[in-house]
Symmetry: D2
Subunit: 402 residues, 4 copies
Amino acid sequence: MAATRRPGRNHLFVPGPTNIPDRILRAMMVQSEDHRSVDFPSLTKPLFEDTKKVFGSTDGTIFLFPASGTGIWESALCNTLARGDKVLSSRFGQFSHLWIDMAQRLGLEVIVQEEAWGTGANPQRIEEALRADKNHAIKAVMVVHNETATGVTSDIGAVRKAMDAAGHPALLFVDGVSSIGSLPFDADGWKVDAAIAGSQKGLMLPAGLGVACISPKGLQAAESQAGKNDRLAKVYFDYADQRKANPAGYFPYTPPLPLLYGLREALACLFEEGLENVYNRHHVLGEATRQAVAAWGLKTCAKEPQWNSDTVTAIVVPEGVDAAKIIKHAYVRYNLALGAGLSEVAGKVFRIGHVGDLNELQLLAAIAGAEMAMLDNGVTVTPGSGVAAASSYLRENPLAKA
Amino acid sequence: MAATRRPGRNHLFVPGPTNIPDRILRAMMVQSEDHRSVDFPSLTKPLFEDTKKVFGSTDGTIFLFPASGTGIWESALCNTLARGDKVLSSRFGQFSHLWIDMAQRLGLEVIVQEEAWGTGANPQRIEEALRADKNHAIKAVMVVHNETATGVTSDIGAVRKAMDAAGHPALLFVDGVSSIGSLPFDADGWKVDAAIAGSQKGLMLPAGLGVACISPKGLQAAESQAGKNDRLAKVYFDYADQRKANPAGYFPYTPPLPLLYGLREALACLFEEGLENVYNRHHVLGEATRQAVAAWGLKTCAKEPQWNSDTVTAIVVPEGVDAAKIIKHAYVRYNLALGAGLSEVAGKVFRIGHVGDLNELQLLAAIAGAEMAMLDNGVTVTPGSGVAAASSYLRENPLAKA
Amino acid sequence: MAATRRPGRNHLFVPGPTNIPDRILRAMMVQSEDHRSVDFPSLTKPLFEDTKKVFGSTDGTIFLFPASGTGIWESALCNTLARGDKVLSSRFGQFSHLWIDMAQRLGLEVIVQEEAWGTGANPQRIEEALRADKNHAIKAVMVVHNETATGVTSDIGAVRKAMDAAGHPALLFVDGVSSIGSLPFDADGWKVDAAIAGSQKGLMLPAGLGVACISPKGLQAAESQAGKNDRLAKVYFDYADQRKANPAGYFPYTPPLPLLYGLREALACLFEEGLENVYNRHHVLGEATRQAVAAWGLKTCAKEPQWNSDTVTAIVVPEGVDAAKIIKHAYVRYNLALGAGLSEVAGKVFRIGHVGDLNELQLLAAIAGAEMAMLDNGVTVTPGSGVAAASSYLRENPLAKA
Amino acid sequence: MAATRRPGRNHLFVPGPTNIPDRILRAMMVQSEDHRSVDFPSLTKPLFEDTKKVFGSTDGTIFLFPASGTGIWESALCNTLARGDKVLSSRFGQFSHLWIDMAQRLGLEVIVQEEAWGTGANPQRIEEALRADKNHAIKAVMVVHNETATGVTSDIGAVRKAMDAAGHPALLFVDGVSSIGSLPFDADGWKVDAAIAGSQKGLMLPAGLGVACISPKGLQAAESQAGKNDRLAKVYFDYADQRKANPAGYFPYTPPLPLLYGLREALACLFEEGLENVYNRHHVLGEATRQAVAAWGLKTCAKEPQWNSDTVTAIVVPEGVDAAKIIKHAYVRYNLALGAGLSEVAGKVFRIGHVGDLNELQLLAAIAGAEMAMLDNGVTVTPGSGVAAASSYLRENPLAKA
């Protein structure tokens, strides 16, 4: 919201919150209704079922909390683990850092595997750590699927293989906040015990609804905590309270109605486009962005192609240039919101989010805008080069699979 | 949401969620935007200031969480108190019960003063308990201002006087979920240290935004917990994280944008009508409802006039009648949502919420509908009697003060 | 729109515009799109087909104009008739008067049959006039189906029988602005050649879309005018221009997109409820209103039960009372919009519209409000009597047929 | 609307309808209300006043019709002129042609001055024709300000000078449908007697509201027709009916409420941005588009820079290329709606509308998309060249004046 009117649409390319399709905006425009009525379950029960599909889960249980992604993360950790439990986690960016920080603040003991920013979780090191844990003191492995800060996607399938190779029974927790609904996610195949999504990324909703998909094994872990004194889960995020009410289509406290109606429409959008098409679209837009970066003669924060994220690209600006200035200028002058570099990479990178409801020309507008903002701030790139490279790629690669 | 189309407007008379004025629905229909932009504080900073007015506070600090009322309650308890702390609380209905239950699940030691359902907090007993607590082991007094389950309003000013008379330094916590924005609330005058509101009652928004107003003394208590190991506040609800970001107009995690824009509009609505007029309107509508109940020859759950709530009336049905049947019938046949009796009064009462954005004729519709639903279920009331009594009262008593 | 905030919902009981269901409001919230795109006909072609059902027509042709009801009336007259043509019409209220006035201003020669206000078209007199017109100089019979000013419904089937009995080939034109979509309408059975509806009544949309259903015979009449010099139809309302574009799903000029999307949703609403249920609902609400009027000891403007309209009731106030004052007071004090008396009955009646998206409790609110407004203005009715009578009737008569 | 979901925003670059700002979409989402209430004029009276500013008029009278631009054109001609009246008009594109066609169908005698498509009204020829009209038989000069079909803007000030030089009393009628609210318009300075705007262009609303601004001299002409038998104005478009109701804030028939609320917000948008800034923005975006066209090595339909329109650019495709294919491909593949060539230039040009609520990056998206669609259809342009040229220009030329 600006003090004076800014003409035209905003160009939102932070890696979340993402653009909300008009039909979802419409769907959320609902009057209040009695959430304890006999009708209400006809809205909610299908939500619990259909949301699982986005996680690639068939036997998981969906929890929906009025909360941001941070809250839903807290819910997963505190329902399934006990104070002092050991967990293993890799740190390679701001969001993996914050998650580790949360675990520590919750009283968990985190074995941190530091990885270079620009890379991701290292399955081999994880396997080694698990093999070394003969007593199975490690209760969970926590992996950020898509590190939003650096534009890096970790290979969860490989992490699962490492865990299986080590024969270790730890739970597998995956932060899919900026991946679920945008990148392929296979909770069943990867045997993910707690997968976490926020509403404001691939689900194309406003922030305010946290979504967790918990495996039967994860639920069992939660139940084993349930009786304990001094358990981490207090009241608001207690899965047990939800499980008493959810199966009948109700909630232990008043649910955020617009987000439930919005979720229903978001799922309809994803299924109508087809999840395979959604994933392909994100891949094509991600690759087009990388083509533009290469044409500019710049590098991504992701160190090798295997780490490339299809939902966000972090672009390293040349030495001596302040990326923060580019970002502010893009916003003020061109109504283009780019993501900032955080922590270790603050001032060194800007990020283009290409997640959620986007198509080719929207992305090209952002690429053109980023180019203009760089030129205005002393980065010498060839005018039009980014759009030329990206558009040439996009012409050859349709968003939807045949 | 019904399986088939139900004609006309829904008549929502549960005591929350409440009707959302069209202009608030409009205000909430917003696209995503970058919540870290330079513009964003122009939305948020006035929110923190203006929300205080609804609490009757000048020196409090507002916290806004993506959460329901349950969550905001948890935030208040776990930020300011430590595991094992003693608190004093009165129980006289389902919501005061739930709050005590939460405190216990959080590991607090609750001294429960049982009061008859249909009455409220007893200042004299509170004073006695505090006087007896020579060592000041009691860290907080928790009072539900408006017990939604029984339609009872407690006298917070009298509680404060009792605390002062006892010369006790305990914090005063007040659950104002179904009162704030509807009933007079004087956080300053009553020296309330933590006052709690949900978005879906007097603030006329959907559920999903928890609002707390914490006094300087309450903040101090929170700060004194901040350094502690094993503190109750974990991450999501940590006031310290908010206080690092809020003063500049930002949040530690993605805020629920529609609810922030909605809150701005809700405050505008309240201030345009005038808080005094809002309170008077609730009183007049509450009294009209009670006139109808009297005309029906029925009793309210509130045992004496001093306990009458102006936001919800719980009506006791005659012996042998199942109030649940009346409620279901009202919903299915007349699209009228009434509140159910909970726990001790389940099946014995139905409730008419008269909270939030309502006017005379809306209430008369509900009274007419309740009458029809009673008649259809064997309660012998004189047809039209409730509307006659209520409308006669309403004709004499305008909603707005001169 | 009021200068200061008025709490609660508005109570709109003018006989149009009518309440717009939330789902239609949502459906109309659409961005602009290219109305010449290859996709566009997938929206429009079903509209042309499905709208016919509301007219009870199978072989008619639907015309959709960006216009009010007045415009669509002009379209029907000027496309099918020539300057100087004779038409026969009955006058028994303000709207039948205005239509006759329009015909005269268009240069038609109108044979006016005056009927008492409070009655409607007289089939016998129509038959007589047609029998007397040996040369078939009368080109059309114009009947207002539902005279909104007096709350009178004419019997179109009887008019058709009269025309057939007279063996007269005149076209039959019916103003169904306040009946179509609310009262049974049988364009096929009644052989109506031009039936006219506005968007803001039974179609539950804002004003701005005029809808005509023209029979094959009516179209033929239009075509016979098409070649003529000095024809009445100019450009905007020319059916010929529409017929060149409509069959392919397009329009000769830019259509009002929100109203087209709104119409799609309105038709969905009507069909989901079921037209028979819609008609029954209007009948039950109309009868409930009349029960209230009787209980008040007042009379309707409709002189005999056969003339009762199920979409609007005009209520005659006692001698010496100014109905305009009641109407203004109801609006200012209770946010209740009643219809005024027009022309001959100005100040003598007020009208309760019960058309469009309404249910029992909404109507009871209006009845309660009308009663209060009367009492406040010196009409001595028994408080609660109207609601008592109406609600007793409504309890026995469900809105939906089994 | 597409049969299956298309991801992302639509890119609408037809020269109208134009993008509707979100805040206008919100403003239009209104429930029905009584348009005869005492409150209603507080909405409408300022509309009549403020709309004049967009026309550059102080003493004009605004008429608001539920109609498209075609309808409002008809209103202007038929209120002020009589059957058989002579009018002078230039034809140089599809819309000037259609207007002449309308005048002829209305029974006016049109002296047509043919100008080459790609040029505009020729003040010198107009002056000559008026000088030759010694008897002042010519009652009006009709000029299309902005010929949407060819992207040509005529110089209305020069036309006025020509009329004054000829000392001819004819009325001056200007079609400003695709200019008013986007290009400088000076109804006072140019002494325009009837200026016409549609809601779906510079006013950023859906189609459905026709707006005319009539000078005192124009009104006088209308009044001189008022008494006549067989006048052109019938009922719907009769200015006299409006003038009876408008000054008090009412309408002769039900107005389209969402469009009135939308107009209020649209005016607020224009005034907040500042009309000078709005005009400058259109100029800068127009020039950027032309820079892109030049970089592609293509020509605009406008034959010389003086004719360049700042709201739409018609681009001539190379011989042998079918522009219609490019347009269809742009829509189907890239969700980019371009304008088609009409009539004489069908298949030879495609048009980029740059009118209404647009900013730089939106335009660059369209330029990138047009380039891709051309490349996909065999037009050999250098990839990225259009965006490079346009963006370089845009970097140097801010949308808002200092």
